[in-house]
């Protein structure tokens, strides 16, 4: 089993993530409708579809793929998701700058940058019922696995599981940020939309890397 994937080989994952978001459009909007304004899927799908268009036809690697997604979200998608996921992908791409491949430690840097981007901008904490409730435990589980000397694949699997658990954890939370926060206790009992999209993105990313590691 290889321990590193070239950014060129990993490039299609940027498309996979985008396609997964586009396919989840209605699902994400439905979740958002329960506590927010029901547009999470619309905004996300519009942005990622645009990114797919921009990536089509020319060669790119994973860094360029993420950079294009980041740019597109920042430039064309408003709402909270434009700046949040826009910064997330931009910062992730930046950690790949000058690199040829992604490995276990490179992925640590990428996850840290992703989390920092979101926290800097949105100041969400774990328990606020946002996408941070997926992102932070995922980053922590990944680092914990690395600390326990798991290989890249093992750490990715740990992250993927933590993302799923993080998403589920938002169900019993009371929203403290964003539109849903105005709901108070009434926001309890349903998942958070941003957490759902974040879990989808991390899962698709992990699955793409795992498939290539196993190849």
């Amino acid at each position: 089993m290889s321990e590193s994937i070239t950014l060129a080989d990993a490039a299609p994952i940027a498309i996979d993530i985008s396609k997964a978001v586009v396919a989840a459009r209605d699902h994400l909007s439905e979740i958002d409708a329960a506590t927010g304004d029901g547009d999470h899927g619309i905004n996300m799908a519009k942005g990622f579809k645009l990114a797919i268009d921009r990536l089509s036809g020319k060669p790119f690697d994973l860094r360029q793929g993420f950079a294009t997604i980041g740019d597109t979200l920042l430039g064309d998608i408003g709402g909270s998701m434009g700046p949040l996921y826009g910064s997330l992908f931009t910062e992730m791409a930046d950690t790949l700058d000058g690199k040829e491949a992604i490995d276990r430690d490179g992925f640590t840097a990428m996850l840290r940058a992703a989390e920092a981007a979101i926290v800097d901008l949105g100041a969400a904490k774990v328990g606020d019922k946002t996408l941070i409730d997926v992102l932070t435990p995922s980053r922590e589980a990944y680092e914990k696995a690395v600390g326990e000397n798991k290989d890249f694949a093992g750490a990715l699997t740990a992250m993927r599981d933590a993302a799923a658990a993080g998403l589920e954890s938002t169900r019993d939370m009371v929203a403290k940020l964003g539109r849903a926060s105005r709901l108070g206790e009434r926001s309890r009992g349903v998942l958070d939309a941003g957490a759902a999209s974040c879990e989808l993105i991390l899962r698709t990313l992990a699955d793409g890397l795992l498939a290539r590691l196993a190849a």
Binding site: G38, D39, R179
Partner: protein
């Protein structure tokens, strides 16, 4: 969903085409497709006023661009904040070398996008200061007032800031007046039926027939109570009670703004105004400025909002100043 649209994903773009064709005297396109501005006027340079927000609230936000009001607007998707790049472009369009006052509403997305845009503008040496409207009393308790949403009170903020800029005031003075306007403003809404984002194709929240949601947000955010629909007089009482408890109004002049949320007929807005006026006078509060109409809507939502502003001498002067726009016009006296 019976709408006057083409591609549901393109309603914002398509609508902007019509706006600039209809009002070339008020609004012109810019290099950025989601930013509109007042045509150049040859007036002396002054502080630029920018706002922005999601589409679907028309005449907000673009409908308040015009003389005595806003200089440039960033336009978002339906119910979504404009991008940071749009706000940034709007700052550039509005700047006349005297700085820009960005007067917008308190939503997570807008906060983030404005924050990023202000940073981008700083790189171009454009000074931007902000006022964040948080007039919706239903959206957080007084001790968390900084979490409150901005709703129709934004119009009062734009009017005050726009009039102050037209007077030739400095950026800090404009910001101070806009901040004073919103600090003295409180709003609350009642929702009576849901609305459908065209790209969604079905309502993104529900209000059962026979019920009203007190304190609903402009995007259907849940309010503070779902009650059986009350007579208009009781609605007025419920809304005024919340507002008057929040800011010590009394013995002074106020501005009253009643806005429909979209589909509630104008005759009902006036009907409600009658009760609000009567109740205020019974509290020894005099409605000095009165606005009744569809000022800040949510697509075809049924419902109303009431916005009260304590008006001192300065705000009285600023509200009376001439202004012209799609949403609000004040004739020269």
């Amino acid at each position: 969903m019976n709408r006057v649209i083409n591609d549901p994903d393109q309603v914002t773009e398509d609508s902007l085409q019509g706006v600039v064709r209809a009002h070339p005297d008020l609004l012109v396109a810019t290099d950025h497709p989601r930013v509109l501005r007042r045509p150049s006027s040859g007036e002396a340079p002054r502080v630029g006023i920018v706002t922005g927000g999601g589409s679907g609230h028309e005449p907000a936000f673009l409908g308040y661009v015009g003389p005595g009001l806003v200089d440039a607007v960033a336009v978002g998707e339906v119910f979504a904040s404009p991008t940071a790049k749009s706000f940034h472009a709007a700052f550039r369009e509005a700047d006349q070398g005297q700085g820009v006052a960005c007067l917008y509403g308190n939503y997570a997305g807008d906060n983030m996008n404005v924050k990023m845009a202000v940073k981008l503008a700083a790189k171009d040496d454009v000074t931007v200061k902000t006022v964040v409207a948080n007039d919706d009393v239903a959206s957080a308790t007084p001790d968390e007032a900084d979490k409150r949403r901005g709703v129709a009170g934004e119009i009062i903020m734009w009017k005050a800031g726009g009039a102050r800029a037209a007077e030739g005031a400095s950026l800090d003075e404009v910001i101070a007046s806009a901040q004073k306007a919103i600090d003295n403003t409180r709003s609350i809404g009642i929702g009576l039926s849901a609305c459908t984002i065209p790209a969604n194709g079905k309502p993104n929240f529900t209000i059962d027939n026979g019920t009203m949601e007190v304190g609903i947000g402009h995007h259907g955010e849940h309010g503070i109570a779902v009650l059986p629909v009350a007579p208009a007089k009781e609605m007025a009482g419920i809304m005024l009670e919340k507002i008057l408890a929040d800011l010590p109004f009394g013995g002074e002049d106020v501005s009253v703004l009643i806005s429909g949320l979209g589909a509630t007929p104008l005759m009902e807005l006036y009907l409600l105004y009658g009760h609000v006026d009567e109740m205020l006078r019974a509290h020894n509060i005099t409605p000095r400025h009165r606005f009744v109409g569809n000022y800040f809507t949510s697509l075809e939502m049924m419902g109303v909002s009431v916005t009260l502003t304590r008006v001192d001498g300065e705000l009285d002067r600023l509200l009376r100043a001439p202004a012209r726009s799609i949403g609000l016009s004040v004739f020269p006296a």
